[in-house]
C-alpha cells in the first residue's frame, strides 16, 4: 500500500468527495480540516489526473531526518 496526501482545491467540500475516493477503492486514513488535506492509501499508483478536486497529490516520503 502506498500512502498519498491530496491537497484539496479551494472551495471543495471534503464530505462531498469522500464518497468518490472510497468508491475509487482508496482507503482514507485521515482528513486534516485545518490544512484541507486528505491522507489516503492505495494499492495502485495514483496521480493528480485521477481526481480533479485535488491541486496536488504527493506520495509519502520517509527520508526526513535530523540535520546535525
Amino acid at each position: 500500500m502506498i500512502i498519498y496526501f491530496g491537497v484539496l482545491k479551494e472551495g471543495i467540500n471534503y464530505v462531498k468527495i469522500k464518497k468518490k475516493l472510497t468508491e475509487a477503492g482508496l482507503i482514507i486514513r485521515n482528513y486534516y480540516p485545518a490544512l484541507k488535506i486528505v491522507k489516503f492509501e492505495s494499492e495502485k499508483k495514483i496521480t493528480q489526473a485521477d481526481f480533479d478536486f485535488f491541486v496536488a497529490i504527493e506520495e509519502e516520503k520517509n527520508d526526513f531526518s535530523i540535520q546535525m
Binding site: 484541507k36 520517509n62 526526513f64 535530523i66
Partner: protein
C-alpha cells in the same frame, strides 16, 4: 551694481536749505509735488538728482558721500539733521516660513533615518565571538529582557528528555506521532538539544545561559524516531495537531534533500500557507547536504517551500557553515530566509550512561533553526499584535547582513533581537 541710496532728513524745507543741500552735495533736488505717473521717483533719483518729499521733509538720493553727510549732521548750520542708508523690507509670510521650517525638519528626519538604518544594518565584521553561548550573544540576547513569556513554541523532533534538570518544574505538553515511542523520552538527544536552544534557560552547573525563550510554553511533537528519521505522515499529523492547538511557532530541525531545480512540494507549500492563515509560523532547517567550498546543495524540503521559513547556519567566525545548504534553486523556490548560529552550539542533552554532563555541543542547521524559533517567540511577546506573517517579516527586516556572505547563503542575514 547695486547703488547705495540715502534718506536724508532736513530740519526745514526753506528754499535756502534746499539750495544749501544742492550746493553741498552737488545734486539737483526735485520736489515730490512734481512727481506723476509719467514722472516716477525711481526715474529721477540717482547720484546727481534727488527727490524732496515735501510732506516728510526728506531728500532721497543715490551714492552720497557718507563722510560728508556725517559732517553735515554735526554741523549746526547745515540743514541736514539725520541720514541713513535705505533698507530692504520683505513681506513677512509666516506660512512660507513655517513651510520652510517643515522642509528643513523633514530633511533632518530623513538624515536621522538614514543614520539609524546605517547603524542598525551595518554589516557585522568577520571577527570571532568566543563564548560557550556564543550563538546567543551573536543574535543580541544579552541586550533584550524578553523571554517569550506566554508564547506556545512547538518543537517537532525526536522527543524530549523530560527528566532534564534544567526543565524541572516547567509544564510541558507533548504528543508522539511515532508508533511505540514516547514524546517525553529522547534516546536520540537531538530533540532535547533543539528544545534547549529555543526554550531553555541556564546551565544548572555554571549558570551560563544557552536558551532563548526561557519563559515560553514548551510543546513537544515527536515526529522523528529514536534513530532520527521520519515520514511525511508523522510531520503532517503533528503540524495539524499544533495548528489545531493554536501553537504560535512550529520549529522543525529536520529535512529531506532535494535535487537541483526540483520544485518545492505543493503539499508543504499548502501546509505552510494554511499555518500562516491560522497565525502559526513554521520555521525549518535548510539542510546539511553541502560540503563547502564545493557548490552547496539546494535548500531541502520542507524549508524550500515559500510559506516556510528556511534557516541557514553560520559559525562563530561569522562564516557560513560548510554543511549549510543554499538558495541555488531560486528559479523554482527554495531561498534561504535568514541565518543563525549553527556550529558548536551548546544546549541541553539527555545524560547517557557513563556521561557526566547534561549538555552537549552540536552543529547543524538543526541547531540554527531553534535560534530563530526562540527569537520569534521573543518578538511575539514584544509585539503581541503582530501576525505570524508579520513576525516573519520582522525577523528578516531586523536581520543583519554579514560581510562577504551572499544572499544565496544567509538570506537577509543573521537574526537579531530588538532592543
Amino acid at each position: 551694481m547695486k547703488q547705495n541710496r540715502y534718506i536724508v532728513l532736513l530740519k526745514d524745507q526753506h528754499k535756502s536749505s534746499i539750495q544749501s543741500v544742492e550746493r553741498e552735495f552737488s545734486v539737483s533736488v526735485t520736489s515730490s509735488e512734481l512727481l506723476s505717473k509719467d514722472n516716477r521717483s525711481y526715474n529721477i533719483i540717482d547720484s546727481k538728482n534727488a527727490v524732496l518729499y515735501k510732506n516728510l521733509g526728506v531728500v532721497v538720493v543715490d551714492d552720497m558721500d557718507e563722510q560728508q553727510l556725517t559732517l553735515s549732521v554735526k554741523d549746526t548750520k547745515s540743514p541736514v539733521i539725520w541720514f541713513e542708508k535705505e533698507r530692504d523690507f520683505f513681506a513677512a509670510d509666516e506660512i512660507t516660513l513655517i513651510n520652510e521650517l517643515k522642509t528643513a525638519v523633514d530633511q533632518l528626519k530623513t538624515k536621522i533615518t538614514e543614520l539609524e538604518n546605517f547603524i542598525l544594518h551595518k554589516p557585522i565584521p568577520q571577527q570571532p565571538v568566543i563564548e560557550w553561548q556564543w550563538g546567543l550573544k551573536a543574535i543580541g540576547m544579552d541586550k533584550t529582557l524578553f523571554t517569550g513569556k506566554g508564547i506556545d513554541v512547538c518543537i517537532l523532533d525526536t522527543g524530549f528528555d523530560i527528566s532534564h534538570p534544567d526543565f524541572t518544574g516547567r509544564t510541558i505538553e507533548g504528543k508522539s506521532f511515532i508508533q511505540g515511542e514516547d514524546w517525553d523520552k529522547d534516546p536520540n538527544g537531538h530533540g532535547t538539544h533543539c528544545a534547549g536552544v529555543a526554550c531553555g534557560n541556564v546551565r544548572n552547573d555554571t549558570g551560563v545561559r544557552y536558551g532563548i525563550a526561557k519563559d515560553c510554553n514548551l510543546k513537544i511533537g515527536k515526529v522523528l524516531s529514536n534513530s532520527g528519521n521520519g515520514t511525511t505522515s508523522s510531520i503532517i499529523d503533528a503540524i495539524d495537531w499544533a495548528i489545531t492547538k493554536k501553537f504560535r511557532i512550529i520549529s522543525m530541525s529536520l529535512a529531506s534533500p532535494v535535487q537541483i531545480n526540483e520544485k518545492p512540494s505543493v503539499l508543504f507549500e499548502t501546509v505552510g500557507t494554511r499555518a500562516l492563515e491560522n497565525n502559526v509560523l513554521i520555521i525549518a532547517a535548510a539542510g546539511n547536504d553541502s560540503q563547502r567550498p564545493s557548490l552547496p546543495a539546494p535548500v531541502s524540503a520542507p524549508a524550500n517551500s515559500l510559506s516556510i521559513m528556511a534557516v541557514a547556519a553560520i559559525d562563530n567566525q561569522m562564516k557560513v557553515a560548510r554543511f549549510s545548504n543554499a538558495g541555488i534553486n531560486a528559479s523554482t523556490g527554495g531561498n534561504i530566509n535568514v541565518c543563525a548560529p549553527g556550529v558548536d552550539i551548546l544546549s541541553s542533552y539527555p545524560r547517557k550512561s557513563g556521561s557526566t554532563t547534561d549538555y552537549k555541543l552540536l552543529s547543524g542547521t538543526s541547531m540554527a533553526t531553534p535560534h530563530v524559533s526562540g527569537l520569534a517567540a521573543l518578538y511575539m511577546e514584544q509585539f503581541p499584535d503582530l501576525s505570524a506573517r508579520q513576525v516573519w517579516e520582522l525577523l528578516e527586516t531586523k536581520a543583519k547582513q554579514i560581510e562577504n556572505l551572499p544572499y544565496r547563503d544567509i538570506g537577509k542575514g543573521l537574526i537579531q533581537t530588538i532592543h
